[in-house]
Symmetry: C2
Subunit: 136 residues, 2 copies
DNA sequence: CGGCTAAGTTAGCCGCGGCTAAGTTTGATT
DNA sequence: AATCAAACTTAGCCGCGGCTAACTTAGCCG
């Protein structure tokens, strides 16, 4: 009876790594105009080879476009995912700080939490930021 | 210059899968006295083979003990991890509900979030549950 | 007791996200 | 123009957490 529907083909769902990468790429482009792989190497603390593999997956999945030895750019889908992720990230981080968590911890925890927050929960956090704590 | 905000020092941490498994095993033992692999198969919606592989890793890592065709038991370390995970899970879930999130969503989101909540953030959530919302 | 079924095991495969080691390209500086 | 260091690519490896397919064991029941 457990009806175990195996929905394996979840190619429409970007991984957490994908979200982290497009967010970082968008930030780099916003800050410095372009994004080079070495910036991701530094930011994520992984090797160049790993960044390369990941970028290839993101390109295959239609989130980034790049060519050998060229800077990394985002596709329209990539840009959409990046701004979505960034918005979630900002709301979670601000919410945690409003909760009384230190800025440093809020930054760390929001990194992990942002990928697991549903629309409903995000809305509840946003409401707090806009209107204060619930039920007076 | 290199920001290197991201910390790779999670080697001492059990994986999220490990935490989910020991939590489920502890629940099964609490509810029915023993835990059989088929319960994990049903609960996580994965195959028997996958449960087997995972249990082997957990045994290698000293979290569970079992023998062929025998029920799954927790080691002391496994029990400690389970109750820790369960406590985190409960606090996060209750906090989300207090935030105004539906029970259903709180259950889903807390599953993902619990693995990324630091001691400090958990403490802040607990404080809210005990003493109400912060700063008057 | 013999069979059958559910539970468990084993072997082998895959993609992701890591790594090292070695080679290639680029671009700045001399 | 030649060199050199930094950036990048490629090849090959690993462990995790999934899977299928095929097999073995346990235990219930006729």
């Amino acid at each position: 009876m457990p009806t175990k529907v195996h929905q394996r083909t979840r190619s429409d769902h970007a991984s957490e790594v994908a979200e982290d990468y497009v967010e970082a790429i968008a930030d780099a482009i916003a800050d410095r105009g372009i994004c080079r792989a070495v910036e991701l190497v530094n930011q994520f603390g992984v090797t160049h080879a790993t960044v390369n593999n990941t970028i290839k997956r993101l390109q295959r999945d239609g989130l980034v476009k790049t060519a050998p030895y060229q800077p990394i750019e985002l596709t329209e889908r990539g840009k959409r995912l990046a701004s979505q992720s960034r918005r979630r990230h900002e709301i979670v981080q601000a919410f945690l700080q409003k909760l009384g968590v230190s800025a440093r911890t809020a930054a760390t925890d929001s990194e992990g939490i942002e990928h697991h927050v549903s629309k409903e929960t995000l809305g509840a956090m946003k409401r707090v930021l806009d209107n204060g704590w619930p039920t007076g």
